[in-house]
Structure formats: structure tokens, C-alpha cells
Assembly symmetry: C2
Homo-oligomer: 404 residues x 2
């Protein structure tokens, strides 16, 4: 199969390397003799239904390379989650433009869109190859060792906590850093990779895979503070109580902050502020500071894993190769091969679509507030080369003269 026209789009939250996948698709597709036109849809599926398309065949290879190294979705993205009717509209436009291959770079919602569009094409007996290309900083796609975008975000989080730990050691107190991840704690757990010395923070890590109990949390903080004279905490925005209610809601209610009673998790500093308030009020610790890493962790320009860049590029390239020489639609997945190398395979769309992966038990320490060595071994090679390293002065105390 050698289609004359192909279309690519980007969906969901941008990442540091999603444009690598875009460049992988475009540059690989342009190599193929039968491909006349490579279209891109502006702002994901919304751009398709609105026929807001651009011709990427007219873009220079050089600029595509520069865009590949630029974070965020160069075609624009969307938060639209298409239902059947929406997918019918998508298919109508693909048909009208005689598109032979449809590539959608996105998370599990995007893979579900690809699955439905694929079914529509089959039902209409229209020859359309549909490929989902993975991306998400949450690392929550099933069937993948990890997903492009996660390693760079993880690197940002690890570097942020390495620095926050140094700052906290210089001016001791309690520091709470809130990290993205509604259901999966991978990104929050990445904070552990910022640790070097035994007494470094983060001393406590809370992921949504474990029930969060405020009383237990306060006891953990108290014990750590008494032991080290300080405490650095990594918290996932998605932490919840035993009933599944987000902690941001339960705390907001308890402290009567009305405007914080909603459950918007990202783009607000409320959870960090509420946790800090609890620590101040209940433990009587004065210097308590909270940061919400917010959009920085997925959009910061200049903090990227070279391993992530390479793999994001390759999933784009492989997508085109699977489409050109393979016989079925599917979702490109990363497999781990050796320590450390990556390989790629095409999974059935139904195996990935709409499913959510969370952290495996073997990655979470029994106490529920730390990661295991298995997780460190899993994540370290993904962070790439040139990770900054923290050094400290060795203690050589001077004998006191006045206060012997």
C-alpha cells in the first residue's frame, strides 16, 4: 500500500518531545515515493473536523528538525475527546481529502479516537491505515515500557527536587512540591531520582496508587522533621482518600476555603497551599513552603532527555514503517531491550485504547512513601546523559573557643 496523501495530528497535553514524533512521521513519509502530500491538522481532531489542514510537504527538512527540538505541539493540540459522532465527522473529512493514512500522536484518549476512526473506515470499506503514536508525560499507556514525553518530564522533576533539596538544606524547613499525575504516580516518583546522599530529600513521596491519609501524612512529616531537622515532600496532584475523593477537596472543605473546593488539579497552587497550611497549623512548624510544578514540568524549554528525544523520533518513524509495510492498524509501543535499549512493536488499538496504566506494586516501597530500587533501575537510563549532579562540603568542624 502506497497512499498518495497522509495526515498527521497531535492531541492532548504537549510534551518536550512530541514534535520529534511529528518530524519522524513527516520526514519518514516524505522518503516514500508514492506519498505525494503530507498534511497536518491544526489543533488535533478539531482541526480535522474543521478542515483546518496544513501542507507539511512544503516545509523544509531543516525547519522540521528545528521544530522537532522545540517543546509543545507545533501543530497545536486539543482537549476534545471525540465520541462516535465526532469520529464520523473525522472520517468524513479524511475521506473527502482522500487521505490514505491517519497518524494521531497522543495519549489513551487519542488511541481510542484512532480505534473508532479505524472501525468507521472498515465499516465503510474505505482503505485507511490508522496508527496511534504514543505520548504522555503521565506514562500511563498500557503495553508500553514507557511513553515518549515521560522521560523528559521525569528529568525536570528529578532536577527540580535535586535543587529544592539543596535549597531546603541551606534554609531548613518543610518543602512540599506538587507534581502532575491524576491516576499514575510515575512522574511524582521520578522525584526520587534527584536524591544522592542518604539524608537527601525528597524524604516522603505520595502517589495516587496509595490511599492518602492526612493523619498518617502529618505523622510522617513530624518524624522526618525530627530526624533531619527538615523535610522535602513530593506529592502527586491526584492523591485521594480511601473513598477516592481528591485530597484537594477534602482539605479545602476542612479549612473552609470555598474557592478551592473544586477539583481542578492542574494550573492551581491550592493543593500545595492546603498541605502547607495543615503542617503549619497541626505541627507548629514555621518555615513551610509549597511549590506546584504546574506547566513548567511539561513545557520548560531546555530540560530534555536525549534518550526521550531519540525514542520520540523513532516512534514517529516506526509508525510510518508499520503503516507502509505492515498489514494492520495499531498503536506503536516501546519495548525495553537490554540495559538499556529500546525496540518498537505495533499493538492492536484495542489493547491500548482508553486503558490507564498505574505504577506497578514492585515500584512502590512497602511503607508507601518511597520508591524501590526496581523503580530507580527502570527510570535511570530514560533520563539520558548529562544529568546534573549535586556535591556538598565534607564536614571538618573547628573546635569551639568561647563555648567549649
Amino acid at each position: 500500500m502506497n497512499p498518495r496523501k497522509i495526515l498527521v495530528a497531535q492531541g492532548g497535553g504537549p510534551t518536550a518531545v512530541i514534535n520529534q514524533s511529528l518530524a519522524g512521521v513527516v520526514l519518514e513519509a516524505r522518503r516514500h515515493r508514492g506519498v505525494e502530500l503530507v498534511y497536518g491538522a491544526r489543533h488535533g481532531v478539531r482541526g480535522i473536523v474543521n478542515e483546518d489542514l496544513v501542507d507539511l510537504t512544503q516545509e523544509t527538512s531543516h525547519n522540521l528538525e528545528m521544530v522537532a527540538a522545540t517543546p509543545a505541539s507545533a501543530l497545536g493540540s486539543t482537549r476534545d475527546k471525540p465520541d462516535i459522532k465526532y469520529c464520523q465527522e473525522i472520517f468524513k473529512v479524511l475521506q473527502a481529502h482522500e487521505i490514505g493514512q491517519f497518524y494521531y500522536i497522543g495519549g489513551n484518549d487519542s488511541s481510542d479516537t484512532v480505534r473508532i476512526v479505524s472501525e468507521q473506515a472498515q465499516a465503510a470499506n474505505y482503505a485507511l491505515r490508522c496508527i496511534h503514536i504514543p505520548k504522555t508525560i503521565d506514562n500511563d499507556l498500557v503495553g508500553n515500557d514507557h511513553t515518549p514525553g515521560f522521560p523528559s518530564a521525569a528529568r525536570f522533576v528529578a532536577q527540580a527536587f535535586a535543587g529544592a533539596n539543596l535549597d531546603n538544606a541551606a534554609l531548613p524547613g518543610v518543602y512540599v512540591g506538587v507534581v502532575m499525575g491524576r491516576h499514575a504516580g510515575f512522574l511524582t516518583a521520578a522525584s526520587a531520582l534527584g536524591k544522592k546522599f542518604a539524608d537527601d530529600g525528597p524524604h516522603l513521596i505520595y502517589v495516587p496508587e496509595r490511599v492518602f491519609e492526612v493523619e498518617k501524612f502529618l505523622a510522617d512529616v513530624k518524624a522526618t522533621y525530627e530526624r533531619f531537622g527538615r523535610c522535602v515532600i513530593a506529592v502527586s496532584e491526584g492523591i485521594h482518600d480511601a473513598a477516592g475523593t481528591p485530597i484537594i477537596s477534602t482539605l479545602a472543605k476542612e479549612l473552609e476555603h470555598d474557592a478551592h473546593g473544586n477539583v481542578q488539579l492542574s494550573g492551581t497552587g491550592a493543593l500545595a497551599d492546603l498541605l502547607c497550611e495543615e503542617i503549619k497549623q497541626r505541627l507548629g512548624i514555621k518555615r513551610v513552603r509549597g511549590d506546584t510544578f504546574g506547566y513548567l514540568q511539561r513545557s520548560f524549554i531546555g530540560c530534555v532527555s536525549d534518550v526521550d528525544q531519540r525514542e520520540a523520533r523513532e516512534v514517529g518513524e516506526k509508525a510510518v514503517q508499520f503503516a507502509m509495510w505492515g498489514g494492520s492498524d495499531g498503536s506503536v509501543a516501546i519495548k525495553r531491550a537490554g540495559y538499556y535499549a529500546a525496540d518498537y512493536e505495533l499493538l492492536p488499538l484495542s489493547a491500548v485504547a482508553g486503558k490507564t496504566r498505574t505504577m506497578e506494586d514492585e515500584f512502590i516501597a512497602p511503607n508507601g512513601t518511597d520508591v524501590t530500587d526496581a523503580f530507580r533501575l527502570y527510570l535511570r537510563p530514560l533520563l539520558g546523559s548529562g544529568m546534573p549532579d549535586a556535591y556538598r562540603l565534607r564536614p571538618n568542624p573547628v573546635a569551639k573557643v568561647l563555648n567549649r
Copy 2:
């Protein structure tokens, strides 16, 4: 003068390069034949009064170099602001340990401490050379072209906004980024250096040097949103109304968020959340997100200006040279020499101590929400080499088929 013992300490908020200055002092001092011992005080002036001293003569040059490249204060810092009595205690310890030179790396409060200790020594007729070494991410020391630590923090802010702008272009809406700086807007203004294309954000920049009016702010946001379909805003944590009341207080009152009624500016996401709430409620824009850069902007490991590193190292080295071969106490200051080179001089302590520099008028655009080219020219060389650059796809629209 060739003293047998010298002492160095670090005060105030840590920076990405304050350890360069520490290494500069220690390594340069150890070159001098008469210097037998180089002491460091743990946690600034508090470590001096507590006689919590370490012997830096016993630290390897190699580890000092590695520590120099590590952010935050390796000796530890303090927020203590010594009064006369406190300074008398400092002097008593320096005298007891027969310290001949006292180096304090810090901001304007620290320079005032050095000034008072210097006066005590003179009054007691005790031979003590006192040198203040500048550092502050706020860039608010008078008599300096700029201060070590500011360029690296400015680079973080510029990179953060370059990325946030890309993210906001991919998923349009309003984005508010709150930047440190209680009185001086330099760091917030640095966000402008993240712009590349004419329609890039930050579209609006608010510094504490200008009165912040909520109504004017909402009108600015509305106009920008209507023009670009999105709006990226940089706000200094120190913005205040005409009476000097912090906006965080006035808004908290207006929206009845009790727990946010205090004036803790850093370590809380309240200001960003309050501004977002205003925009949502008053302008009816749905996608409004706020980030508070918090401690990341001063502690993030792996985002540093090489120019800043070099200069921070040199102010430490020069401090020792001024002390060894100069005849007076003082504060080391950076002078701009050419485009771009730096030189150093020793200012009288009284010229720097306790004074606060704010942004010069020529750096702020007449409309009050942008910087001038003079500011861009001032800041760009300080950000150093290898600044990441953002690229975008060129528009090549495809003709519509269905909706012509």
C-alpha cells in the same frame, strides 16, 4: 596584611552560583602564603555566633570545584538580620578565633551586617578586613551593573516563559506565571527574553515598579485575548496597589479567601490562583491557568548562565585580592565593560548596605506592561551561551473540500 585565619559565610536566599563565590574565596585565599586556615561558618551569621565553624583548608580543591558548580548555599544560609547586639556577638567570635578577614556573601541585608561588624572592629582597634560579596536573584543591589545569581534565575524565567508560551499556543487560553521579586521587577521582566516571534508571550508583564490596577489588568488581558486568542502574563509577586498594599491581600479580601489574607509572597500559589479567579469570573474566559515559579527559579539544578558562573567565581576571587592588596573594607561590585565584558571594583560598604535598587525607568515600556529594547540589550549577554531557541511550522494551508 597577610592574616593567618580568614572566615567566609553565606547569607540570605540561595542562588544557582553562590557556591562559585565561595570557591572563589577559598581557592584564592589558599594560594596566599600567609593564610594558614580558611574557616567557613555554617548557616551564615548564625553559625558565627554559635561558633558552628568548619575548616575549609581541609577540603580538596577538586571537591570545591564540584561544589562550586552545585546550586544553593553549601555552607548553609540564614534569614537572620543582625542588629547591633547581634553584630557584637559576631565580632566577639571573630576576635576569639583570631580571624583577620571576614567575607560575607549575600544581599543588601548581608552588606549591612558587614558594615556594622567593620565599625565594631575599628572601634575596638582590632585589625579585621571586612568584605561583602554580592549575590541576589532579585538584582536589587545598588552600585552594581547586576548581581551574581540574577542572570541564572533570569535564564530560568526566560526559558520557562518560552516553554509556557509554546504550551499556551498549542492549547490556547490565559496563562499567568508569578515570578519572585518583592520590590524589584528585574526577574519578572526577564520573561520578555523568552519571546521570539512577534505574537509570542509573555504579552503582558507586571512589575512592582508600577502601580497595579485590577481593572486596568483585566482590560489588558481582554484586549490581548481578543487579539491573539490567548494571553500569557508575567506577574511579579510584589505587585501592589497605589497605596502600596500587596495585590495578594486586596484580592484575597475581595474574594473572601481568609487563609490567603496574609502577605507571605513566596512559597504559596495564592496570587496566581487569585488572578486566575478574577479573569475567569470577570472576563468569562474558561481556560485560565496559573503557575507560581516558586523555589524552582532559584534552586533548579541544571539551568545556569555560564556568564553568571564566571562572574560569581570572580567576585569571590576579587574579594580576596581586594582584601590582600587593598587598604579598606568594602563591597565588591560588578561593572559593565564593553559589550559584553565585566570588571570589578570595591565600593564603600555604606554605598551598598541596606539600600534597594529597583528597575530603572528606561527599562520599562511607557505602557507599563512590557520592557524596552534597552532592557533586552542589558540582559541578553548575561543569560550566557546555549540559550534554547523555539521554532514553529510555517503556515501552508490546505484548501477546504467540504466547507469551501
